[in-house]
């Protein structure tokens, strides 16, 4: 549809989804004001999202059926030594973001194959810090990917909280997406009143192994790097500020750990919902046991056309 005002169907779609730029949205609103039926339609588009959530969110919030929990269970049922190690790794994943810098020898060790080598990551971070080159700007994105933090949180599948360093004299001044060693990451830039600035680079990774904070230096840039759960973190600061940044890192990491501990645990909720069934250690496929008709999860297609309050778990 394109009317006299030049409003298209896609404009209406984006407007209903809240993904239309403000200037265009104003034109759409003007068109809607003059057309009650169109206004009703677009209002319904927006309402559909809410009603879909009302209808189906119960399934996302319900405990997982046993057979799905079993698919996800094997790694937790390995011998004790591995369980302890996994718990440590998962606890480390709580530290979603941390800062560090300092001196000393350090190597990145084994890096994920596709995320670039350790040297590449460090070189990229140092170059970005020195030049201030923003890389891919967040504002260049469209749709739901426009928010760098959300974009990155999706990649690591964990809630992401920006570290607040104002009490240490550093304020967050920018966050954007950057190209780092062949893949995209998130950069957080902090600035101090003195003009000093600090860049924190976050990349996603697949391995769960954590690593201690280690430091390096390239030219006039002090670098620190570590891995926590799905995160690979590189911090770049000016070479003459290594001591300050190192103290910030230690304080921040301790603060984040304490914060999560105070919430009742030292690890994020990484377990699938429901109670896993012990005894399956290496199986790659769980049997499809159909639940009895009156058991949770036993609803059929027929159940889905009943009101949302019926049979929900």
């Amino acid at each position: 549809m394109t009317d006299d005002s030049g409003i298209t169907e896609l404009d209406l779609l984006a407007y209903a989804d809240g993904r239309l730029e403000p200037a265009r949205a104003q034109k759409v609103e003007a068109a809607l004001a003059a057309d009650p039926e169109l206004r009703a339609k677009v209002a319904d588009f927006a309402a559909q999202n809410r009603e879909l959530a009302a209808q189906f969110d119960a399934y996302a919030n319900a405990p997982l059926p046993e057979r799905l929990a079993r698919v996800l269970a094997p790694r937790r049922e390995r011998p004790a030594r591995r369980r302890v190690r996994a718990a440590v790794v998962q606890a480390a994943a709580v530290v979603l973001i941390a800062l560090a810098a300092g001196t000393g020898g350090w190597t990145l060790g084994r890096m994920d194959r596709r995320g670039g080598s350790g040297a590449e990551v460090l070189a990229g971070a140092a170059a970005l810090h020195e030049t201030g080159r923003p890389g891919r700007s967040a504002t260049a994105d469209t749709g739901g990917s426009a928010r760098p933090l959300t974009w990155f949180a999706d990649r690591i599948a964990l809630e992401l909280q920006l570290p607040d360093l104002r009490d240490r004299g550093f304020a967050l001044v920018r966050k954007d997406r950057v190209e780092l060693a062949g893949t995209q990451g998130l950069r957080l830039r902090y600035a101090a009143p003195t003009g000093q600035h600090l860049d924190v680079f976050l990349k996603s990774r697949w391995r769960q192994r954590a690593s201690p904070i280690a430091t390096h230096r390239r030219g006039d840039v002090a670098l620190a790097h570590w891995m926590d759960g799905p995160l690979r973190v590189v911090v770049a600061g000016d070479g003459d500020a290594r001591g300050t940044v190192r103290r910030l890192a230690a304080a921040l990491r301790a603060r984040l750990n304490a914060q999560h501990g105070a919430q009742g645990g030292t690890a994020p909720k990484l377990e699938p919902h429901g109670t896993p069934t012990p005894g399956r250690e290496t199986a790659t496929r769980s049997p499809r046991v159909r639940p009895p008709a009156d058991a949770p999860g036993a609803a059929t297609a027929t159940d889905l056309v009943r009101p949302a309050t019926d049979g929900r778990r």
Binding site: F56, A62, T183, Q208, G297, V305
Partner: protein, 165 residues
């Protein structure tokens, strides 16, 4: 990596159940998806989100299952086939909620609506999950929403079911 999968599984399950219209079929689909993801974990590209990768796996499995069912259905008699045909739009007055209303949509429209409207994927991400150009995704989404609007009682004479690209 199982904890990453566990983190995403509730969303996968919500989408699968909404898409198939059945808890049982949805859970089957999620189970297949998780098992495949565990086997193929080295195929995840860091350029895409874990969530998008898992949804893409799930969607492809679903399409293959639909295709296989169609093949199987081709061998049954016309009478049997009529019994499994889902309700068409003529029955929309009977529909009580969104789950039922979704049946009035073509599968492509329904899936676009669910990926964006229910799961919150950006248009380009949803297009990648479905393996179509973003313009196609938007067209399916618009047609799907328009059809939902009509099924739910809006706009008599609306262009319900108008073919998208």
């Amino acid at each position: 990596m199982t904890w990453l999968l566990a983190r995403e599984t509730p969303r996968l399950r919500r989408f699968a159940i909404a898409m198939t219209g059945s808890v049982e079929q949805g859970d089957d689909l999620v189970q297949d998806t998780l098992e495949r993801a565990l086997r193929k974990q080295n195929q995840w590209r860091r350029e895409s989100s874990v969530r998008a990768w898992l949804f893409t796996i799930l969607y492809r499995i679903h399409l293959n299952q639909v295709k296989r069912r169609r093949t199987e259905q081709a061998s049954v008699s016309a009478m049997e086939r009529s019994e499994v045909t889902p309700p068409n739009q003529d029955s929309h007055v009977e529909m009580l909620n969104m789950a039922a209303a979704l049946r009035a949509l073509s599968p492509d429209q329904r899936d676009a609506v669910l990926l964006v409207g229910l799961e919150g994927f950006a248009y380009d991400e949803a297009a990648r999950v479905m393996g179509v150009p973003v313009g196609t995704l938007k067209s399916r989404l618009y047609r799907g929403r328009e059809a939902l609007w009509a099924v739910r009682g809006g706009g008599r004479g609306a262009r319900v079911g108008k073919a998208g690209p």
